[in-house]
């Protein structure tokens, strides 16, 4: 790609369920579309394609919109900064350029909530969704012992992927108490597809009221110490996949001035954010799963391309899946114990190697940052500031540009 400047009617950020649904809906209008994604392949986290992944035909059908003549798909591409009122600065592994748009649809998805515990920086420890993502990209797991831990429905999906890859998943540790899970299960009749999914993913290794205490090993993970009910035990394993739920990706929205609430992008019934010309859909507007993301993406695509009247018909379905999202949220609310796993010497900031004790005694994020350099490394606080928000209730920092590490040559374009 050699152009200096790109132009489109509608720019869609993200090619997961919401982004693909938005593209599909908007493509019916004849608008020119650009879809960008920082991953090398489309599908987002849930439909991540890879060398060993066999996607359902319905999902492959969804990808076809990326081949339509009015759409340009930019994979492996990151957003570095705003470059004017309706323009963004982008880079991929080779090039940098500015893209102008009339309407912007943010489908930035969610990342995992990764919380510190002793040993969490050891090679062999990953997030739960992370293990699944690495697997889909070809990570070998055959014969390895895997412990999956944390909270939320993603644990079962991750464990199932690991089993399919030939791993021995010895435990799936869900921090939520059994009573909450039982309540959740009895309410599932309203979403029959979710019952089928749960039955497919069910495993005898699953334990409620259980969580990781410590990852053990010298140069690499060798075992995990866990709390299961009232007992503590040690499990030898080659991998620990530990994620404590999902957090909406709101950095770009926040940088563009969109209002956030409860850590998610605020949108109206037409998926419009508080900034004119900027819409948002899917997990970045509140974690709700792929079904909700598909509906929200479709609404956003219709609204952005002047087909708002067609979007109204989708409201009931959106409410149906929003109700499911609410059930998930209350069921998998984090217990205080899992917010207290770090010891004083446990690193909280993995980029600058800042210990928990250096941060916890500070009054807030900015003070912690000034005193300790936490959040000043390559991830720019995406991991540690998010953890600090969960652990201490600190407000997240304002986004700084470049939004992700970028090349000097890219910044000079601006």
């Amino acid at each position: 790609m050699t152009e200096q400047r790109l132009d489109c009617d509608i720019l869609i950020v993200g090619s997961g369920p919401a982004g693909l649904a938005a593209a599909q809906a908007a493509s019916r209008s004849g608008a020119s579309l650009v879809v960008i994604d920082d991953n090398p392949r489309p599908g987002g986290q849930i439909w991540r394609n890879g060398p060993d992944t066999r996607l359902a035909p319905a999902v492959r059908e969804r990808f076809k919109v990326l081949d339509s003549p009015q759409l340009r798909y930019l994979s492996g591409t990151r957003i570095i900064d705003a470059a004017g009122p309706q323009a963004l600065l982008l880079e991929d592994a080779e090039h940098a350029w500015i893209i102008d748009y009339r309407q912007l649809i943010l489908c930035c998805g969610a990342r995992e909530l990764l919380l510190p515990f002793p040993g969490w920086t050891l090679p062999g420890v990953t997030g739960a969704g992370a293990l699944q993502a690495l697997l889909k990209n070809g990570l070998p797991l055959r014969g390895e012992r895997v412990v999956v831990a944390g909270s939320g429905p993603l644990l079962l999906a991750s464990a199932a992927s690991a089993r399919q890859a030939g791993a021995r998943v010895t435990r799936v540790l869900e921090q939520a108490p059994g009573a909450a899970l039982a309540r959740f299960a009895t309410g599932l009749w309203r979403w029959p597809s979710k019952i089928r999914q749960a039955l497919t993913l069910a495993t005898p290794a699953y334990r409620s009221n259980a969580h990781v205490l410590e990852a053990l090993g010298e140069q690499r993970l060798e075992a995990v110490r866990i709390r299961q009910g009232n007992s503590t035990l040690e499990l030898p394993c080659e991998r620990l996949a530990c994620g404590f739920g999902l957090v909406p990706n709101t950095l770009l929205a926040s940088h563009l001035g969109c209002q956030l609430q409860d850590h998610a992008i605020v949108v109206d019934h037409q998926q419009r954010t508080t900034v004119p010309g900027v819409l948002a859909a899917g997990e970045c507007t509140g974690v709700g799963g792929s079904e909700l993301a598909l509906i929200e993406g479709e609404i956003a695509g219709l609204v952005a391309s002047g087909q708002a009247s067609a979007a109204a018909a989708l409201n009931l379905r959106r409410q149906h899946w929003q109700a499911f999202a609410n059930q998930v949220r209350s069921t998998f609310a984090l217990r205080p114990e899992v917010l207290q796993l770090a010891r004083p010497d446990t690193l909280l900031c993995r980029c600058e190697d800042v210990a928990f004790s250096a941060i916890a005694e500070q009054p807030g994020w900015n003070a912690a940052k000034l005193q300790s350099r936490c959040g000043m490394g390559a991830c720019q606080g995406r991991v540690c500031a998010t953890a600090a928000q969960a652990l201490f209730g600190w407000a997240p920092p304002r986004p700084r540009t470049p939004l992700v590490p970028a090349r000097i040559a890219t910044l000079l374009k601006h």
Binding site: D38, N39, P40, Q45, G50, P51, G76, A93, R111, E112, L114, T121, P123, G124, V125, T126, G127, G129, A130, L131, Q132, A133, L134, N137, G138, L139, P140, Q219, R220, R350, C351, E352, D353, G377, A378, C379, R382, V383, P405, R407
Partner: protein, 77 residues
Amino acid sequence: MIIYLEQQALTVRDGLTVAAALAHSGDERTRRSCSGAPRAPFCGMGICQECRMTIDGRRQLACQTLCREGMHVERSL
């Protein structure tokens, strides 16, 4: 295809990310932290930057970079 990991030829299947190729090599480390501890891919989705490596002379994320024939990959050790 063949990629070069620390100048050593490594045969990998098509479609693998550099992160996956590292694991196939038997040593999944990507970098040493600023206090000297080994690190490996962690978030798997381009957020945590633990897997930043020098790939064909540029700093890139191993978890979001697909292997290409003849690619040179260096750890930040």
